[in-house]
């Protein structure tokens, strides 16, 4: 109780925590209101009402309910094993653990808190169904239903099911964590088996859904959520959906055992967790420091530190790729080093962004624009613009990690036989290369799909590539101006200045494109090429400012 009281009082002293607290109580207050009243704003007409179908088939309702609960079930299942290590912080271990508070009491407190927090996750879905248009949707369902009032019953039960399911998964998570995180040889083996098991289940599930959709067509996606195999694998999600839809389907004989399964399952897991509560302090104390460091690194967006911590705990495999075998001389060694570090820290992010570039590249070939003559042609400017935007997003992620390293490692970099300006230029250049690779890949995909758009693809490479170089240079300057990467105030300020800086520095190239493409009606490539030169020029200016700043930068300050 004291911990709860202290947490509450602490929340009142910090703006950020206070907002969290208001959100938390607001959310659950709203849920309670919805549960007892049957939805907010019902009966009021709104502009969306005409878009809502009057009678939704029960099959679709099944798919929606099982889809939502099934995804929640799978995500909860995948995160099992890590709950306990995320539960406490260093001050808890140093201050709270030496007090005579029994471990079981702490476990109950954290379990209730985590269950409620986990239930906040589906907030977006609940907002959809709780909004005015959601209420109208339900009203329309109800009007077309043979069982008026059943929809509101399902609506009420959905809140209860969310909370119940989150309690179910949190209890199981704690019980399993107390076995997997002990740090013994046997528990490490269990953890390894568990992780592989989770991965295999995830891949099988994904493969099964893709295969089913591929064989039966996209229309089968809705049916997939009612598939008996999926219902078996994601049984807790299936139970929740049956329970929620019981007022509509009337299948209470199935809903009651499903509800019992969730309650009994949570109860058994809770009992197992309580029986192992003695391990709570030891498991937490062993992991808390690493987790605190990882949290801090994540806050700083320092992917290198996160990877280094994984390496220290033996969870990092080194792959010798073609980059490692390359050999450079002089300044290009900085690029080589950066690419290796990138491949070990930010590669997964890179894969995601490359997929985005490829997706946008493909999309740009199919989005049509109708010309005055009525002819439908793809929008040439769409791809370079979207690629520029994506390049900005990717640079933010790549450059943050990379420049934190540059600040940290001044003692090894500055004595290298290069001037500060050269070091900064090659650091910026190295960070642009992976982004450029993604841009080229995305452009090639668009050209492959529609070869007639080659000029748009080439313009994307020039425009977005030079823009990426400009953004990385600006990031470098900003990191050198505000080098306190662990200071949240500087971090926030740097973000604001970056947005302002990128707006100011991108204006000249945007103006060139507007003038040449929009006003003078020149081909896209002819319009983007000079804009790319402007970007490169500005990037060089920014890099030389960065070089000057780096020369007088003292990492020890």
């Amino acid at each position: 109780m004291k911990t709860f009281k202290n947490s509450f009082l602490r929340s009142l002293k910090s703006g950020r925590r206070l907002i969290g607290l208001i959100f938390f109580f607001g959310y659950y207050g709203w849920i309670s209101r919805s549960f007892w009243s049957g939805g907010s704003g019902s009966g009021k007409s709104n502009p969306f009402s005409e878009l809502v179908p009057p009678n939704v088939p029960t099959d679709l309702l099944h798919s929606i309910a099982f889809g939502a609960f099934g995804v929640f079930s799978f995500l909860s299942f995948a995160s099992i094993g890590s709950q306990l290590t995320l539960m406490f912080r260093s001050p808890d271990v140093d201050v709270l653990f030496p007090t005579p508070v029994p471990a079981k009491h702490l476990l109950i407190f954290k379990l209730i808190r985590d269950s409620l927090l986990t239930a906040v996750v589906p907030v977006i879905l609940i907002f959809v169904f709780g909004s005015r248009s959601g209420a109208t949707l339900m009203q329309n369902w109800q009007s077309g239903s043979t069982n008026p009032g059943a929809i509101y019953g399902a609506h009420r039960l959905s809140f209860l099911a969310w909370v119940l399911q989150s309690f179910f998964w949190t209890s199981i998570g704690y019980a399993v964590s107390l076995y997997l995180s002990r740090g013994t040889v046997q528990s490490d083996r269990w953890a390894k088996i568990w992780n592989r098991f989770t991965l295999v289940i995830g891949l099988l599930l994904l493969g099964y859904i893709v295969a089913k959709v591929y064989v039966q067509g996209p229309g089968s996606l809705a049916k997939a959520f009612r598939d008996p195999v999926l219902a078996t694998i994601l049984f807790p999600g299936y139970c929740s959906s049956q329970f929620v839809l019981a007022p509509i389907t009337g299948a209470w004989n199935l809903a009651i055992p499903c509800l019992a399964f969730l309650i009994v399952g949570a109860g058994v897991a809770l009992k197992v967790a309580f029986n192992n509560a003695d391990w709570l302090y030891e498991v937490t104390a062993m992991n808390v420091q690493v987790m605190d460091q990882r949290r801090q690194a994540a806050k700083n967006q320092d992917m290198v530190s996160i990877a280094a911590q994984r390496a220290q705990s033996g969870k990092f495999k080194i792959r010798q790729g073609w980059i490692q075998r390359l050999e450079f001389k002089g300044k290009m060694a900085l690029v080589w080093k950066e690419l290796i570090i990138f491949s070990r820290s930010t590669q997964s992010m890179f894969v995601v962004f490359t997929v985005l570039f490829v997706g946008v590249g493909y999309l740009s070939t199919v989005i049509p624009a109708v010309s005055r003559s009525g002819r439908s042609t793809p929008v040439e400017i769409f791809q370079p613009m979207m690629f520029g935007f994506l390049a900005f997003v990717v640079c933010s992620a790549v450059a943050t990690t990379g420049f934190i390293q540059m600040l940290k490692l001044g003692d090894v970099q500055k004595p290298l036989p290069f001037t500060p300006g050269q070091i900064v230029f090659f650091e910026v250049f190295a960070k642009t290369i992976p982004i450029l690779a993604s841009i080229v890949l995305g452009s090639l995909v668009s050209i492959a799909f529609r070869p007639s758009m080659w000029s748009s693809g080439l313009a994307s490479i020039l425009g977005a590539g030079s823009f990426a170089f400009l953004v990385c240079s600006l990031y470098c300057v900003l990191f050198l101006l505000f080098p306190e990467y662990e200071d949240p105030t500087q971090r926030g300020f740097r973000g604001i200045v970056m947005l302002l800086g990128i707006t100011v520095f991108s204006l000249p190239s945007v103006f060139v494109v507007f003038l040449m493409y929009g006003v003078l009606k020149l081909p896209i490539l002819a319009a983007v090429a000079p804009a790319a030169l402007v970007n490169l020029g500005l990037a060089m200016i920014a890099a030389s400012i960065g070089g000057k700043l780096y020369g007088s930068f003292n990492a020890s300050d």
């Binding site: 911590q309 390496a311 990092f316 080194i318 050999e327 290009m332 004595p415 990492a555």
Partner: protein
């Protein structure tokens, strides 16, 4: 060889190094001594190009560091007190990276494996720097300094945190560097090491040079012949301790 003329370094209003001048001839090891906050690390960081001097001139092999940084630093190796290494490079990659930067891959190919063996890092060759202990990182830092053909070597407390075998190897390497004609500057708190290893000592306090010369010369200047170096050092730096900026 290394020549420092009137080196001044200010941190805002605080003067960390005040008009320091000295010279290290080829084949000479100089010990940089002084109490905490004397300005030893700042002086070394200025000479290695990490910090920009407020005033003064630094000549490395006759090349002015301020005029031609690339050429001047090509002949210099620096080992910082806290090993500064790329966590996500392997031990071998780190060594290669330094060799590539200094364009001395031939030295790496010829002596790289031997260096790692001497510093007991052979079995860690393919492991990430992140997994190394502090002592191992220090050894790797020294190995990186040895993998290029630098003839001016700067060491900031190189023996702190290193095991006895490692200390022995570092001392042996320093002696060999001296025999090869390198100029070596070592900042250290270990007075017995300075006494055994260094040809001359340079004593700093509050950024000022208090003494430069051999240890017998130091003892004679204070009329303390026969006294151990610790007592001599304490007498010289009495009342000169200062807080680090």
């Amino acid at each position: 060889m290394l020549q420092v003329n009137g080196l001044v370094k200010d941190y805002k209003k605080f003067r960390a190094v005040n008009g320091l001048s000295f010279e290290i001839r080829p084949g000479e090891i100089i010990g940089l001594l002084g109490p905490n906050g004397a300005g030893k690390t700042t002086a070394l960081r200025c000479i290695s190009g990490i910090l920009k001097p407020t005033e003064g001139q630094i000549l490395i092999n006759g090349i002015d560091l301020a005029r031609d940084q690339s050429k001047a630093k090509a002949g210099l190796a620096f080992v910082p007190e806290m090993p500064s290494l790329y966590e996500l490079l392997t031990v071998d990659e780190h060594l290669r990276f330094i060799a590539m930067c200094f364009d001395t891959m031939d030295v790496y190919r010829q002596f790289g494996d031997g260096l790692l063996e001497r510093y007991h890092l052979s079995d860690k060759k393919g492991e990430l720097v992140a997994t190394l202990s502090k002592g191992m990182r220090q050894k790797l830092s020294v190995a990186c300094a040895m993998v290029h053909k630098a003839n001016v070597l700067l060491f900031d407390e190189p023996l702190i945190g290193v095991d006895p075998a490692g200390v022995h190897e570092i001392k042996t390497d320093l002696q060999q560097a001296k025999e090869r004609g390198c100029s070596v500057l070592i900042s250290t708190h270990l007075l017995d090491t300075a006494e055994k290893l260094c040809d001359r000592v340079l004593i700093l306090a509050k950024g000022n040079k208090l003494f430069e010369g051999t240890i017998p010369e130091l003892k004679t200047s204070l009329n303390m012949e026969g006294a151990d170096l610790e007592k001599v050092f304490l007498r010289l730096t009495e009342g000169e301790t200062s807080s680090t900026p």
